[in-house]
């Protein structure tokens, strides 16, 4: 096998006694492509949940049922703003990553993680209040679809926050290098996906 050098841009330089051949990097790297495939799978997963929600929602004469509490719309609007702000912080962090500004990167990643955690905390407190008012997972299709759909999204936000925290710890231990660039870019893609998903779920579940 002839030696080959992988450049920072992903191009591959094949070295052989007959000379060197440079093969340009693909337009979309393997890592990004894998992440996109994963996000496509996630989209179909949520599409199935939304399909189930639509069946119950559209076939039900009263939604929510009269004996169950309404969802807190004003608080969730504010929480949506928190999640949108976290996406903005992530975008700024990725910009700092590309410009090599390590201090700004850590600060902005921290802001994104804090905002994501705040979103989860507000969701959790909202759920506790709803359970006290009688809206449980077993309170019929309304409770079941609400907790399944919003709960799955919450788990994804939790996964994104944990992923981000792990990367932040690695970065703060001084192992920040170009090798962290790909994981951070992929984490950013996942973060955007989770925020975009909420932009679809919030109107569907809370406002429809």
């Amino acid at each position: 096998m002839s030696p080959r050098r992988v450049t920072a841009s992903g191009s591959v330089l094949h070295l052989s006694p007959r000379g060197a051949v440079l093969r340009p990097a693909p337009a979309v790297s393997n890592a990004r492509l894998a992440m996109v495939a994963f996000l496509a799978f996630e989209t179909m997963f949520f599409a199935a949940l939304v399909g189930t929600f639509l069946v119950f929602r559209l076939s039900s004469p009263a939604w929510p049922p009269a004996d169950l509490p309404s969802l807190p719309i004003a608080l969730t609007w504010a929480n949506t703003g928190v999640l949108a702000l976290s996406a903005w912080a992530m975008a700024r962090a990725l910009r700092a990553l590309r410009s090599g500004d390590r201090r700004a990167l850590e600060r902005r990643l921290g802001a994104a993680a804090v905002l994501g955690t705040l979103f989860l905390a507000v969701q959790g407190s909202e759920w506790i209040r709803l359970v006290h008012h009688g809206l449980t997972l077993s309170a019929g299709p309304y409770g079941a679809t609400f907790y399944t759909l919003i709960g799955c999204h919450g788990l994804h936000v939790l996964g994104a926050v944990v992923w981000l925290l792990v990367l932040m710890v690695i970065a703060q231990r001084g192992r920040f290098a170009r090798s962290l660039r790909v994981p951070l870019e992929l984490c950013g893609m996942y973060w955007y996906f989770v925020v975009a998903l909420w932009a679809g779920l919030f109107p569907l579940v809370y406002l429809l």
Partner: protein, 98 residues
């Protein structure tokens, strides 16, 4: 020659796909009976849900395909660094070990 064979095969496949196939399009008898009423809210709900689920794969494939196409065009125009982010974080040499 090879291209012609491929074209003929594709044309035959397309022609076969257009043949009437009512027998295959009947669906489940129970579902059909239960959802026949167009005014039934459950029938409307299930039909809406089916339409939503049918559109999703097209939406995903279209979005991903469009994104890859745009990335390829941007790379060709020299607007982005090829393959960014690179799979390899830094220059590395492979195949030099004996």
């Amino acid at each position: 020659m090879r291209t012609r064979r491929l074209t003929v095969a594709l044309a035959a496949l397309a022609a076969t796909a257009m043949l009437p196939a009512d027998a295959l399009a009947q669906g489940c008898a129970m579902c059909r009976t239960a959802l026949q009423g167009q005014d039934d809210p459950l029938a409307v709900a299930i039909n809406t849900s089916i339409l939503f689920l049918v559109t999703m794969p097209y939406l995903i494939v279209g979005t991903v395909g469009g994104w890859i196409y745009l990335q390829t065009r941007r790379q060709a125009a020299g607007l982005v660094e090829p393959g960014a982010p690179a799979d390899a974080g830094q220059d590395s040499v492979e195949g030099e070990n004996p």
